[in-house]
């Protein structure tokens, strides 16, 4: 049994910035053995990425690394670039988070893979080409030969990441460092990528480092885990120990904060409030939003982008409806159409028995008081030139013009307290706060007018796990206090399940399944829902290992492709790109449980 592939001792990374020195990695020590997968988990600012940038010699100019990094017993920290270049890309490789910007846009994918091969193995051109195709097929890219000639922007996100993996494994590395490789990808695509990485580990016997903030991802691939916080490794050990017998408080806190798909109601977290009555507040019928998109080519006519294609639901008082789906499913468009921030193409939205498209402009403005929204990006949803007090006050000032300035200020301070912000911060600016605090500002702004419906559009997706848990608890608490209804939109089924009474699954602008939070998990019927559930990583290694993978092959379909809607009902597909396709209908398989028609699996 050979020694460890990589041995890191007392690694320190310091960045010199105009505002002083930043100690990004403090005294890190660990080892990685052959064919082993080390999961490194931590939130933003934990130093996990910088640690590996330092081991591979890719620190930016103002960073200094000290300590020792040994590859197979040889010291590689701070050695000369030419010597490092022999190892990088061949024996130790790294893949990064954003596959679009990580591939050179003006070189074909084939050229980039071949370049790596020729630099390190000196293969002649045609042999390198053959090997490149081999390695693309290894990562299960269909039509590898054709893909080689394509440019990165012509491939989807999942494909690009596979190309990156192919490029990194082409020369048979001992160690592959993956820095948040799936964070920018959709959940089902993420599942495919993780599957590929697991298989590579077994087939090629490559050691892998998986850096991630998602403990579910780590649980699914790692053999050993290191938990990092503020530059230090607070705990490390075998994966089962970390997950089932965590010792450090931080690890316990992380595990506790992480929403779990199989356990939506855990102790210590706010619980979904019981429904008081059955009164429907919002009735949406066949809502459709089409965007005309200019066709490619000189004379092509415009085709409609079917962002939302006939969605219907009702929402009761005090109820939370969770809408879940991946990129392109239309969930954000749906939210904005309901709030009339976007024009709808068809369908009706009835709020408290009034059809929103039939009322006067003045009434429409007044109704804004009752329908509010919290956005995804906390910093982008606040005007950087306004104090947070001004931002919070704005809807109140606009919609309740009769209030005096003192009264407005009093209410602002009150709502700030209710969302957990110090009222004394009222004159501060958004850039002085963290993401979590800014999101509280966004929530305060939405709640100050005491709306009856709040739409949360990926409101917690941009936050760190621990902060995310706090904000989710806050939202649920506010719902209990204020008694409002909610539409909670997310791509994360675990969060949606935790917070909602009923869950709606969207695919390409249409509802494929609609059920309450228990049924959607225990008795999912539609193949897409099942694949989605199967793909969601659960922070529980034993469960992950035992999971039967229900794979969806291929990329996420484009909403422009009319045939994609029948991906699960191929028996009714008309093979003509311009034909009007059959629209799968929603069938009520049990009271309150709707499933779209699909071919039996």
């Amino acid at each position: 049994m050979t020694g460890p592939i990589l041995e890191v001792s007392n690694l320190n990374v310091i960045f010199s910035t105009p505002d002083g020195d930043v100690h990004a990695v403090k005294d890190a020590s660990f080892a990685i053995n052959e064919s082993e997968c080390l999961g490194v988990v931590g939130e933003s600012g934990s130093g996990k990425s910088q640690l590996f940038m330092a081991t591979i010699g890719l620190l930016s100019a103002n960073g200094k690394a000290s300590g020792s990094v040994k590859y197979r017993g040889q010291e590689i920290l701070n050695i000369s670039q030419p010597r490092l270049n022999k190892l990088r890309g061949s024996k130790i490789t790294m893949i990064f988070q954003d596959p679009l910007t990580s591939l050179t846009p003006h070189m074909t994918t084939g050229a980039q893979i071949i370049e790596a091969l020729r630099v390190h193995s000196g293969l002649p051109r045609d042999e390198a080409e053959k090997r490149a195709i081999e390695v693309l097929e290894l990562v299960r890219i269909p039509e590898a030969r054709r893909r080689m000639k394509q440019f990165p922007h012509e491939l989807s996100g999942g494909m690009r990441q596979r190309v990156m993996i192919a490029m990194a494994t082409a020369c048979g590395p001992d160690l592959l460092i993956a820095d948040e490789p799936t964070t920018a990808l959709d959940v089902t695509v993420q599942a495919q990528i993780l599957e590929i990485m697991r298989d590579l580990k077994v087939e090629l016997k490559t050691a892998i480092v998986m850096v991630s903030h998602d403990m579910g991802v780590i649980a699914g691939v790692a053999d050993r885990v290191a938990v990092m916080r503020h530059g230090e490794i607070v705990e490390s050990g075998p994966v089962d120990d970390i997950f089932y017998k965590p010792r450090a408080d931080y690890t316990k806190m992380l595990l506790d904060s992480m929403p779990r798909l199989d356990r939506p109601d855990r102790a210590g977290h706010a619980h979904v409030p019981a429904l008081k009555n059955d009164k429907p507040l919002l009735e949406v019928e066949d809502l459709t939003v089409h965007f005309p998109v200019r066709g490619a080519g000189l004379f092509a006519k415009s085709r409609p982008l079917r962002a939302v294609d006939g969605v219907s639901f009702t929402l009761r008082e005090g109820e939370t409806l969770g809408i879940v789906g991946e990129s392109g499913c239309g969930k954000s468009t749906l939210a904005r159409a309901v709030l009339r921030l976007l024009p709808k193409t068809q369908g009706t939205v009835v709020w408290m028995t009034r059809d929103l498209s039939q009322i006067s402009a003045g009434d429409q403005r007044r109704l804004r008081k009752e329908l509010q929204i919290v956005f995804q990006d906390p910093l982008a949803s606040l005007d950087p030139r306004m104090t947070i007090g001004e931002s919070i006050a704005e809807p109140l000032k606009t919609l309740q013009t009769e209030l005096s300035r003192d009264e407005i200020k009093r209410r602002v301070r009150k709502i700030m307290e209710q969302v957990g912000l110090e009222p004394g911060w009222i004159n501060r600016y958004p850039h002085e706060f963290s993401g979590g605090q800014n999101q509280r500002v966004g929530i305060a702004r939405a709640m100050i007018v005491e709306p009856k419906l709040v739409i949360c559009d990926e409101a917690v997706s941009a936050l760190d796990v621990s902060i995310q848990a706090q904000i989710i608890d806050l939202i649920v608490k506010l719902q209990t206090d204020f008694g409002m209804s909610m539409i909670f939109i997310s791509h994360d089924l675990s969060v949606v399940r935790q917070i909602s009474h009923r869950v709606m699954v969207l695919y390409l602008g249409r509802v494929v399944e609609f059920a309450d939070r228990e049924t959607i998990y225990k008795d999912a019927q539609h193949p897409y829902t099942k694949a989605l559930i199967s793909a969601v990583p659960i922070p529980d290694p034993k469960l992950e290992r035992a999971k039967k993978r229900l794979k969806l092959s291929g990329d996420l379909p484009s909403p422009l492709d009319t045939r994609a809607q029948l991906n699960f009902l191929k028996s009714r597909l008309i093979d003509n790109a311009d034909a009007e396709q059959y629209r799968p209908k929603l069938v009520e398989v049990a009271p309150g449980h709707l499933v779209a028609e699909h071919d039996p699996i």
């Binding site: 709030l339 956005f375 949803s381 030139r385 306004m386 004159n427």
Partner: protein
Amino acid sequence: MSVPFSDKTAQIVGLALEVKGRSLWDDARRRLFRNRAAVVSIVILGAIALAAVFGPFFLAYSFDAQNYDIVSCAPDWWPDHSVLCNAGGSHWFGTDNIGRDLLVRTLYGARVSLAVGLIATLVSLVIGVTYGATAGYLGGRIDELMMRFVDVLYSIPYIFLVIILMVIFNRNFFLLFVAIGAVEWLTMARIVRGQTLSIKQKEFIEAARAGGVGPVGIIARHIIPNVFGPVIVYVTLTVPASILAESFLSFLGLGIQEPLTSWGVLISEGAAQMETAPWMLIFPAAFMAVTLFCFNFIGDGLRDALDPKDR
């Protein structure tokens, strides 16, 4: 969090605890003053402006007093004594070819050049911001059309059009301001439009709409304050461009006419007398170069202060 005070006391205590925030302008100002080149430029520019406005009052000579006894004299400190004036009086910058004191003329030229620069920039600011903001906010077809127009005009080497205009309308002084301002408004319009478009898509605009704010409120409260930054940067870079444009025209004989003078005119006269009286060229040229440098440093400093990226 509940304190056993009365409401009023709580208000007062609360007010006392309110921390003043650090706005983006405060941050930018601090960064700007850390930039030594920009600070020095501001000081120098201020000095030149003061000298231009108040200087001529303290000098003995008027800018158009011709004195054929002291034609083309070198400044008092010129090393080559053979070209000095010996008719008495003190000429720090020497005299020109018809005996006018060059120091006064340079300062007068400063007045005109700076005035033209500022006014022309103002013209381009007004036209450009209105045009660009309208196009950016309205978007869609109107935006396309308006920007097409800008693109068309961009294809013409604009100075040529200005020259033609000056010729056709016979060197009208008022027209000069408008014409030069009209050269720069294109880029200003483009910048403002670009900024408006990018801000329009930001989520806080959507948030304001969800809060019931109407289009006027959005433009006034959200778009304009956020567009301000790049516009200011560009204004400080437009002033030197306008001064250059005016000098260019004056040099060709199409700009400022007698009896007024500007740096461009002085340089033109100086270039003609270059071999016999080089000081006629050096002083106005140096003043103009220093002024332009200062504006550019300030503009660069503002750009870095308002949007600090990895320089």
